[in-house]
């Protein structure tokens, strides 16, 4: 059976990955909560952000963590523009259309990456790539520890922003009652685009924390997109606390499942959870049934 000495580091590893998953899922759940759309292109946009971090490092020698002030506003601007000029226009008020439009966006982004940067898997070398931190006897790689705390910090900032700022209030108002928000003078289209932008800004931050211990290739987003959806439905569509908890659960399940069943079969655990949640409890852990 599994020794505790293997299981413990595996759980810790899962938690560090889970924190980044949670950050990615937060972006997705924010977009869903406000716009009531499923952003199918979330994974592909994460891939674009990862390439952004990669090229900033490769061409300008910028450290991935120092890339945060570039990537977060950059992804925000991309998200704002996408919602305003592409996705918003394609919807015609039907959910299916948005799903198809974001599927189209995924195809464009993924294959643009394949065309422009080829299918090579790329990684970056930093002074701390191979260093480790001793956490209660388990050796965890430094970038993963940084990612854990960085993702948590980013999440805290996002939650404080949503709770305290005027824009955050507007976002919550639109999420709860679109018509009412319009009546009290909120520019709903602007809030939509802002929410989409903030959702992608989460991806920009996640990419900066991921890349030192991860890799990028044109297909890298595929793996993340279903994981992010699983977390979001697990936690309840639109629930921030749910996304956070869901992220940790999925991170640990993936890590421990991989230990048991091997890398390729370990992924099945996530999809089985996803299918089971969708079938039996689509409102998730925290979501209320509507």
């Amino acid at each position: 059976m599994l020794e505790l000495s293997i299981l413990f580091p595996s759980i810790l590893n899962g938690l560090t990955t889970g924190a980044v998953y949670a950050l990615i899922a937060l972006g997705l759940t924010l977009i869903y909560g406000v716009l009531h759309i499923i952003n199918f292109a979330h994974g592909a946009l994460l891939m674009i952000a990862l390439y952004g971090v990669f090229f900033l490092n490769a061409k300008l020698g910028l450290d991935p963590y120092a890339a945060l002030p570039v990537m977060v506003p950059g992804m925000f601007a991309l998200g704002y523009a996408l919602q305003r000029f592409v996705i918003g226009r394609a919807s015609h008020g039907k959910d299916e259309n948005i799903l198809l439009a974001t599927l189209g966006l995924t195809l464009v982004l993924e294959n643009f990456a394949l065309y422009a940067w080829r299918s090579d898997t790329r990684t970056i070398e930093t002074p701390y790539t191979f260093s480790t931190v001793d956490v209660a006897g388990a050796m965890i790689s430094t970038p993963k520890v940084v990612a854990f705390f960085g993702a948590l910090a980013a999440t805290a900032i996002l939650l404080a922003f949503i709770a305290r700022s005027d824009l955050g209030r507007a976002i919550r108002a639109v999420a709860r009652e679109r018509q009412g928000a319009k009546l009290v003078g909120i520019d709903v289209e602007h809030v939509f685009a802002m929410s989409f932008g903030i959702g992608l800004a989460c991806l920009g931050a996640a990419a900066c924390f991921l890349l030192p211990a991860y890799y990028v290739n044109p297909q890298v987003g595929n793996g993340f997109v279903l994981i992010a959806f699983t977390i979001v439905v697990l936690g309840g569509m639109g629930s921030f606390a749910g996304a956070l908890l869901g992220g940790f659960i999925i991170g640990v399940v993936e890590s421990v499942g991989g230990l048991w069943l091997g890398e390729s079969l370990g992924q099945i655990g996530i999809f089985v959870i996803f299918i089971a949640i969708l079938l039996f409890r689509p409102q998730g852990i925290f979501g209320a049934r509507t």
């Binding site: 226009r89 394609a90 299916e96 259309n97 799903l99 189209g104 464009v108 990456a113 065309y115 689509p282």
Partner: protein
């Protein structure tokens, strides 16, 4: 009846094609267009007529492909006998996915995501199990005889895919003119009202996904015979699911000729870009993605819808 005659004339014309054209390139283009039409017809039955958008039709395609390939490789069964078996297997997977998701009332985006997840589960399983050859895939033994569903020239394959597409056309036509088709479109337009009028929405949707999956599996079995090879990514990867949904959306959802129009337009576009930009990886799918966004934004009723609008405007 006009539609029915049009279908028969069209298929008759294609059937005569090998008598006049011997160019392998042209015949291959026609075969691939009909093959894309078949996948589109399968998706269109569930999504266009039934309103259930699947993102994972590869689950049915791949099951059909593997059912046929595995039976030939492991048990030496004749490929012609494998075709109905593949259709039954694909339809069974369709029944399973449909029964689970429709029983729990999954609609819209949720249904799309759950079908995608099923396709991914199948892909990972096919990648890890010996029976499907793992990541290496299965190579169908070369026999090169019509009795084994492997033809010397292209013409034989053309007749097979034409027959399958004709079946798809007739199914679509039947949906347009039968009581069952009316139930299905009623469920698409408003499930609650349809149920209130006594339509068993669950059963109607389940039947639609079974028909759709069976047709898709036939496409998978044809693919295996034509290319003689299948692997997890080809069978269950997202490319097949996208190919199935793109045609009907471009051509016109929920119409009899939409999948054909879309498939032909996309093949034309694909050839055009290949000539202009070479065979660089990713180019064709990138353009397909842009076409998908453009169609949803500007022509939600497809090319067919555009024709109808123009015809209505003409005096």
């Amino acid at each position: 009846m006009k539609t029915l005659y049009a279908i028969l004339v069209l298929c008759g014309a294609v059937a005569l094609l090998p008598a006049f054209v011997s160019s392998g390139v042209v015949l291959n283009l026609v075969i691939m267009t009909l093959y894309a039409t078949l996948l589109g017809q399968a998706w269109n039955i569930l999504a266009g007529f039934g309103g259930q958008y699947s993102f994972g039709h590869a689950a049915f395609f791949g099951t059909g492909a593997y059912a046929s390939a595995a039976l030939q490789v492991h048990f030496g069964v004749n490929a012609w006998l494998c075709l109905p078996f593949a259709i039954v297997c694909g339809a069974a997977v369709g029944a399973l996915v449909g029964a689970l998701s429709f029983r729990y009332g999954l609609r819209g985006s949720y249904f799309a995501l759950v079908t995608l997840a099923f396709a991914e589960v199948f892909r990972i399983l096919a990648n890890s199990v010996k029976f499907t050859g793992g990541g290496v895939g299965l190579l169908v033994p070369l026999k090169s005889s019509a009795l084994d569903f492997q033809f010397q020239g292209k013409a034989g394959f053309l007749y097979v895919i034409l027959a399958l597409t004709l079946a798809g056309f007739l199914l679509s036509w039947w949906l347009k003119h039968s009581r069952y088709g009316a139930w299905l479109t009623a469920v698409r337009d408003n499930e609650d009202s349809a149920a209130a009028l006594g339509v068993d929405a669950f059963r109607v949707k389940l039947q639609a996904i079974v028909i759709s999956a069976g047709l898709m599996a036939a496409g998978g079995a044809f693919y295996v015979q034509y290319f003689q090879y299948i692997d997890p990514h080809l069978a269950y990867g997202p490319a097949v699911s996208v190919e199935a949904l793109l045609g009907p959306i471009v051509g016109g959802l929920g119409t009899v000729f939409g999948p054909l129009l879309g498939a032909a337009a996309l093949k034309l576009l694909g050839e055009l870009t290949r000539n202009l930009m070479g065979d660089a990886p990713g180019v064709s799918l990138m353009i397909y993605g842009a076409v998908l966004i453009a169609m949803v934004t500007f022509l939600p009723r497809g090319i067919g819808g555009l024709f109808q609008r123009l015809a209505a405007k003409a005096p």
